[in-house]
């Protein structure tokens, strides 16, 4: 058994984050496309959203469709307070996070008191909350009333640079915060408690896990991180409408990313966000609008079928073939077409790595059986 070093991952994340802070300057100096900043921002945004979702759902097993509600609270806090009330931008981000956390806590306060709460009830409750918020925003003209809110005139802090530089840095902060929180939680008593709730809540209770309190803390954190990230994202949306905010897109995307990456480890959502966004961005750029959705759908199905434990654990189980896949991806990129863009390069690399990790090499015997044994196998990897 390795000695657990819970401080290692957060420390490494922070070092990387500090280095990335200066990435916009590098892009500027090297004359790279400014789009790279926006691409990175979008990955940050989904990383923050997926990590936040996974913190509660992935760890505790309670399936939440409420991500759209938390995200929407963040977006609309900025829309209403900054545009209509003239609040300063940066503190409003925090308010957005706090309001979303409060929403999470109030959902929890009501729902977790239910006796015999089943997973799907919780899932639907959270979905319903998003629809209720959308309906309230539609009725109330102080919030929206159907007119939408233009955010183009919002003054942004000059210290953070141009719009792309600013959005990159704000996205970086929220993503790093979400990831570090997930890392700390995973290696803390809270994380252990949440995992035990996921495995069997009744057993967890008898083991002395304060299930109610742990669930509340986790849901509050999820709300805060998602709201904060949504508030920042308002600057990128530039025109806020109910239909685009309180819809099913954000929850579906975070679920997709987290499950593809793997829900039992903080790295899963990060990897999922990176892979899914890179792939869909490059497919879209290829202009294959007719086929690209079909390919995305097919890849999704394939990953679910071939890689139930998630991308991250799969890659960790077989680093060699993943690395070979990545190398083949890079080489394939060179062979198949000139690499005109670093993002395309990244796309090939990730594609190679993912497909490498997917290839069912090794004998069937080594592959964990489906169902409960698979969970045990995952447990061994995570715990070991």
């Amino acid at each position: 058994m390795k000695k657990p070093r819970p401080w290692l991952a957060p420390a490494a994340t922070l070092v990387i984050a500090v280095a990335m802070w200066f990435y916009p300057d590098l892009v500027d100096a090297a004359g790279w496309p400014i789009f790279y900043l926006l691409f990175a921002y979008t990955v940050f945004f989904w990383t923050a959203q997926a990590s936040s979702w996974n913190l509660f759902t992935g760890f505790s097993g309670y399936f939440s469709f409420g991500q759209g509600a938390f995200y929407g609270v963040g977006v609309y806090t900025v829309g209403v307070m900054v545009v209509k009330r003239g609040w300063p931008l940066l503190p409003t981000f925090l308010v957005g996070g706090i309001l979303a956390a409060a929403l999470g806590l109030s959902i929890g306060l009501v729902v977790f008191r239910l006796r015999r709460l089943r997973g799907e009830i919780f899932a639907l409750m959270t979905l319903a909350v998003a629809f209720v918020l959308g309906a309230v925003a539609r009725i109330s003209s102080t919030i929206d009333g159907g007119q939408g809110i233009p955010l183009s005139s919002v003054p942004t802090p000059e210290a953070l640079g141009t719009h792309p530089q600013m959005i990159f840095r704000l996205g970086l902060i929220t993503a790093v915060l979400a990831v570090v929180v997930a890392q700390v939680v995973q290696h803390s008593r809270l994380g252990w408690g949440l995992f035990s709730i996921r495995d069997d809540e009744d057993v967890a209770e008898t083991l002395g896990v304060p299930t109610f309190r742990f669930k509340m803390i986790a849901l509050g954190l999820t709300g805060f991180l998602a709201g904060l990230s949504g508030a920042v994202h308002a600057l990128q949306v530039s025109y806020v409408t109910i239909e685009e905010v309180f819809n099913i897109r954000v929850p579906l995307m975070v679920i997709l990313m987290s499950i593809l990456g793997g829900t039992r480890h903080w790295m899963g959502p990060v990897l999922g966000a990176l892979v899914v966004h890179t792939m869909s961005d490059r497919l879209n750029r290829a202009g294959l609008e007719a086929v690209s959705d079909i390919i995305v759908g097919a890849l999704l199905i394939l990953m679910i079928v071939a890689m139930k434990e998630g991308l991250y654990l799969r890659m960790r189980q077989r680093p060699l073939i993943t690395a070979i896949g990545a190398a083949v991806g890079v080489a394939g990129g060179f062979v198949l077409g000139p690499l005109d863009s670093a993002v395309t390069h990244l796309g090939y690399t990730l594609l190679g790595a993912v497909l490498g990790a997917m290839i069912p090499v090794g004998s069937r015997r080594q592959r964990p059986e489906r169902g409960a044994p698979a969970a045990q196998a995952i447990e061994e990897v995570v715990g070991g």
Binding site: P33, I34, F35, Y36, L38, F39, T42, K84, A135, R138, G145, G146, Q147, G148, P150, S152, H163, P164, H233, Q236, V237, S238, Y239, T241, I242, E243, E244, R249, D281, R282, L283, N284, R285, A286, G287, L288, E289, V291, S292, D293, I295, A298, L299, L302, V305, A306, G332, G333, L336, G337, P338, D340, S341, T344, Y348, L351, L355, M358, I359, P360
Partner: protein, 450 residues
């Protein structure tokens, strides 16, 4: 084993797809050394065209000029965006057949923004800074238009767009809206409709407002008091009250409304002389069907921006329905032989693309006018320099399918309201008001006393 085969198949499929993308991307970014915003038409296209001695003088040559844009190819806005796709494809095809732009071929790169505004913003950022397209064209949908305008402004790109109906929200000086409603559609559009009704000598006494909660239709119906411009503050409802119509019903509905029955019951209950339906897409025929089911038919009904085909599909019940348009494929709009030919070509292209109602009308013609604006700007400036194009368009008249006009630099570049009232008569749409734009032998039919 089967699984392995499937894997390999998808691997191949995906690699080919990405490879195709990479390849296409390189052709699309011919000039990676200089930022496009400052590229002063370095290729000198005129000389390239001239040096090509034999062959057809008209055939475009040289690197293609790439025009980038997004459209809502999927998602809730896709039904209407499909029309803009057909119009753009046809325009570019004809442009290339007619010698291209500045003697160079034109390539339109259109991406799918999935009906999502932030997606559109990111895609325009990519088109401009990574793909380094030479020119851009606006997307479809208010949210996407508003999101992309910020990107265009950041990089100084000329931004023609076809359907931006939130006229107060678009202040960028190089933004050129071809949407033919003028800066204050909330005033001019309803006034036109009421003028038309009053021209019959028998205007409505009572009116019902049924409004889709979409930013554009809300603005026309009620105005927006938050913009700081008093002309923005009122809309169709207030103007109706000023004209002495009694407002007997005022309901708003969400975009994804599923049950029209209760609204229809309310309309029947209010029994207005005229229904002002702030409609998008298929709201109109949905309400008509629900009213039919109640055996109720108001004396007159106006629909803001309906998909034209499905309204006609409502058959006899749609007779007499009013809407606004800026172009219909009948005289006097097709008196100009060029416009007539465009309308015919569009009908052919839309039919081939499987569009159920293939006639050229408001949406397609706005799209067309935006493309015409862009081309005239480039040709007028004689270069791809955005400052020069912008200057040219701000200071010269353009000639589009809507006629000759000048973008109004004092009014967010909107020009006059070129809307006309059209009506369903004998199973088709006809412009009926004002008289000089009405189809031959067509006049507005409205009589609340029946």
């Amino acid at each position: 084993m089967k699984r392995v085969i499937a894997l390999v198949a998808v691997l191949a499929m995906v690699l080919v797809a990405c490879g195709g993308g990479g390849g296409q991307a390189t052709t699309a970014a011919p000039d990676t050394t200089a930022g496009p915003a400052t590229t002063p038409a370095a290729e000198e296209p005129a000389t390239t065209a001239e040096t090509e001695g034999d062959g057809e003088a008209e055939a475009p040559s040289g690197d293609p000029i790439v025009i980038g844009s997004t459209l809502a190819l999927t998602g809730p806005l896709a039904p209407t965006a499909a029309i803009h796709k057909v119009a753009g494809d046809l325009f570019v095809e004809r442009l290339n057949a007619g010698g291209g732009l500045l003697g160079r071929p034109v390539e339109w790169r259109v991406l799918d923004d999935e009906s999502v505004a932030d997606q559109a913003a990111a895609l325009y950022e990519r088109l401009i800074t990574e793909d380094q397209v030479d020119l851009i064209m606006g997307p479809y949908g208010t949210g996407a238009i508003a999101a992309a305008i910020q990107v265009a402004e950041r990089y100084g790109y000329v931004y023609p767009q076809h359907t931006g109906s939130l006229t107060y929200a678009f202040g960028y000086e190089c933004h050129f809206p071809s949407w033919p409603t003028g800066r204050y559609p909330n005033q001019t559009n309803p006034s036109l409709v009421y003028d038309a009704l009053e021209s019959t000598g028998n205007p409505p006494e009572t009116i019902a407002f049924v409004i889709n909660q979409f930013p554009g239709s809300m603005f026309v119906a009620y105005g927006n008091p938050d913009t700081g411009d008093p002309n923005d503050a009122t809309g169709a409802k207030q103007i109706a009250e000023e004209r002495g119509y009694e407002v007997v019903l005022d309901v708003q509905y969400p975009l994804d409304i599923s049950d029209w029955g209760p609204i229809a019951a309310q309309v029947r209950d209010a029994d207005p002389d005229f229904v002002y339906l702030g409609a998008l897409g298929v709201d109109g025929p949905n309400l008509i069907a629900a009213l039919d089911a109640l055996n109720y038919r108001p004396a007159g009904m106006f629909m803001q921006w309906p998909a034209p085909g499905p309204v006609l599909g409502a058959g006899e019940s749609a007779e007499g329905v009013l809407s606004v348009t800026a172009f219909e494929s009948h005289p006097p709009f097709t008196d100009d032989p060029e416009n007539a030919e465009i309308a015919d070509a569009f009908r052919e292209a839309a039919t081939a693309a499987g569009i159920p109602y293939p006639e050229m009308e408001t949406q397609a013609s706005a799209s067309w006018a935006a493309w015409q604006t862009l081309v005239q700007g480039v040709e007028g400036a004689g270069s791809l320099d955005h400052e020069q194009i912008c200057d040219y368009l701000r200071n010269n008249t353009v000639r589009t399918i809507f006629g000759e006009y000048q973008y109004g630099t004092e009014e967010n570049n909107y020009y006059g309201d070129l809307s006309y009232v059209k009506q369903v008569q004998d199973g088709d749409w006809w412009v009926v008001y004002p008289e000089e734009k009405a189809a031959p032998d067509r006049t507005l039919e409205y009589s609340p006393d029946n």
